[in-house]
């Protein structure tokens, strides 16, 4: 089935939000919203779940913590114990004070970078990627809502268009694919 994408453009995020609320109430599936900045409160309206990046970050941090601890235990206690500053390296516990700074740094290092990489991959925003916003103005002061006919089969394309037009839009663009 041929798919038609409707891009409705707004010039205020509050109007877009009201419009999205109205459309969703009528059963329209809003596919995507493009905006120059995060719109507070749009996520629950168009059904975007809270991201789980935070949990990932915690896991990466734990990996860093484990690596740092085992690493320093191996280097300083197991593999080549040395008496440094009158503190013989025979036990990890007794020397732990010296290991805490690096353990902390390495935990943060892994958590931050792991999460940042996950973020970029999840977003599909990587060097060399092509931008996908339908209109260059959406990174300036315009807001675009995207609906697809294939996801709103209960409405005809005309109905969808009319509904979108009634929400205070300033422009409507359509694209067949």
């Amino acid at each position: 089935m041929a798919d038609r994408i409707l891009y409705a453009m707004y010039d205020d995020e509050e109007i877009l939000k009201d419009g999205a609320k109205m459309l969703v109430a009528k059963g329209v599936k809003v596919e995507e919203v493009f905006s120059p900045f995060p719109i507070h409160g749009i996520d629950p309206i168009i059904g975007i779940e809270q991201t789980r990046l935070g949990i990932f970050s915690f896991i990466y941090g734990m990996i860093g913590l484990t690596l740092a601890t085992t690493g320093m235990w191996f280097f300083m206690i197991y593999d080549w114990p040395m008496n440094i500053g009158g503190k013989p390296s025979f036990s990890y516990l007794e020397n732990m004070m010296s290991f805490i700074p690096i353990t902390f740094e390495f935990t943060v290092l892994c958590a931050a970078h792991g999460m940042a990489i996950t973020y970029l991959i999840a977003n599909r925003t990587l060097p060399g990627m092509k931008s996908q916003n339908p209109d260059p103005r959406t990174t300036d002061d315009k807001f675009v809502m995207e609906c697809r006919t294939s996801q709103n089969t209960q409405f005809s394309a005309d109905e969808l268009e009319k509904m979108m037009k009634s929400t205070g839009i300033i422009e409507l663009e359509q694209k067949d694919i």
Binding site: G54, F58, G85, K87, M97, S98, I100
Partner: protein, 395 residues
């Protein structure tokens, strides 16, 4: 909305006090003939007076901080903070009582520098006696307590007045007074901790000590504030307080716990690393005689809040917050307990009926005073200029 102390709360605080009194009585009966009884009894008095007074003081500091930084979100819980800081005059009373008794008893082996006989045989104390002597100690103590009392009264009076007259004049006055109070507090929080606590281990010194104590005070106060807010919210007294406010105070508990742990680590690690005799003696004493309690208290104060309050949901969950809060409070009480007891009683300290009894008695009085304070003012500061901002607080 006016707050009324519920029957349950009345019975609870009364029971605490009665059991506390009973235990204290048993403790006295059991140990009154011990050699170190007076020191032990007064140590406990000092520990509890300091601990609960400083919770009130922490609340006063926190309020001044909110004033000086023109923060908005706290307006809805302002009365809770005020109630906690309302313990200040009582705390001052307890502290003065203890200090008077200690001065009369020449320090009672707690402040050994008050004892002329000890000073005569100790060159280090003799050298310090320009600073550590009874007269100067009292001048400083009166200055600290006087200023704290003065600012407590000013903030409270103006806050109640704002309810009546409104406008922005009081707000801007508080802004200025808050900033000036912070200056006093910055100096006094350090010096008073040297005078009242660090001088117990009279030979020992640490530049970080004041800030470390302050972090503990701040953390305990935030914990009390969060527990009290949750309690009041559960009873329906704080309809304007939403999850976001709880989350914010939860974050403070988390952040101050982290700050405290950071300062604990800094002080401990540096002294451990340099391994200088005059410094490590302090920790040697604590590790030899209080090992489980000392490291246990550190783990509790650091690991519990860090692991359990890391997630957003935990900071919004009343049950989690309350349980962690109570544990943290016990942890910080232990910190104060070891600070004082290891210096005054050393190896001879132990926790028995006396310690638990006096803690319960004081806790009962503390809770009752706070609840009483709550009932003296409306729960919402209606004319606070940031109230609207606070009600719409959302994160």
């Amino acid at each position: 909305m006016e707050f009324k102390i519920s029957k349950k709360a009345k019975t609870f605080t009364l029971t605490l006090m009665v059991i506390g009194l009973l235990f204290t009585g048993i403790g006295i009966a059991m140990h009154s003939s011990d050699h170190h009884f007076a020191t032990r009894f007064l140590s406990n008095g000092l520990i509890n007076s300091l601990f609960f007074f400083s919770i009130g003081l922490g609340a006063l500091f926190f309020l001044a901080l909110q004033y000086a930084t023109e923060t908005g979100w706290y307006a809805a819980v302002k009365r809770v903070i005020e109630a906690v800081m309302g313990f200040i005059p009582y705390g001052i009373g307890f502290l003065l009582l203890i200090f008077i008794v200690l001065t009369i008893m020449d320090g009672a082996h707690i402040y050994t520098w008050m004892d002329p006989e000890v000073v005569a045989h100790d060159d280090i104390i003799k050298m310090k006696s320009t600073y550590l002597n009874k007269t100067f100690f009292w001048i400083r103590t009166v200055a600290y307590l006087g200023i704290y009392f003065w600012y407590w009264r000013g903030f409270r009076t103006r806050s109640l007045e704002e309810d009546k007259v409104g406008g922005t004049e009081i707000h801007f006055k508080n802004y200025k007074k808050g900033a000036v109070f912070l200056v006093f507090f910055a100096v006094f929080s350090s010096t008073s901790s040297w005078d009242w606590v660090m001088s117990i281990d009279v030979h020992w010194f640490s530049t970080l000590f004041g800030w470390y104590t302050f972090a503990g005070i701040w953390c305990s106060s935030m914990t009390v504030i969060v527990i009290l807010t949750l309690y009041l919210k559960k009873l329906g007294y704080l309809p304007k307080v939403n999850d976001n406010h709880i989350h914010d105070i939860g974050k403070w508990v988390f952040a101050t716990s982290f700050l405290w742990s950071y300062l604990w680590f800094s002080q401990y690690m540096l002294i451990w690393y340099a391994n200088l005799g005059e410094e490590v003696i302090y920790y040697m004493m604590r590790i030899e005689h209080y090992q489980v309690m000392y490291f246990g208290m550190f783990l509790v104060n650091m690991v519990f809040p860090m692991l359990l309050l890391m997630s957003r949901d935990a900071k919004r969950h009343a049950g989690t917050l309350t349980i962690i809060g109570v544990i943290i409070l016990i942890g910080h009480w232990s910190d104060v307990y070891i600070m004082v007891s290891a210096g005054s009683l050393g190896a001879g300290a132990s926790i028995g009926f006396l310690e638990i009894g006096m803690l319960m008695l004081m806790a009962g009085i503390f809770i009752r005073v706070i609840l009483n304070n709550l009932s003296k003012a409306p729960m919402t500061p209606i004319n606070h200029p940031f109230l609207d901002e606070s009600i719409h607080h959302e994160i």
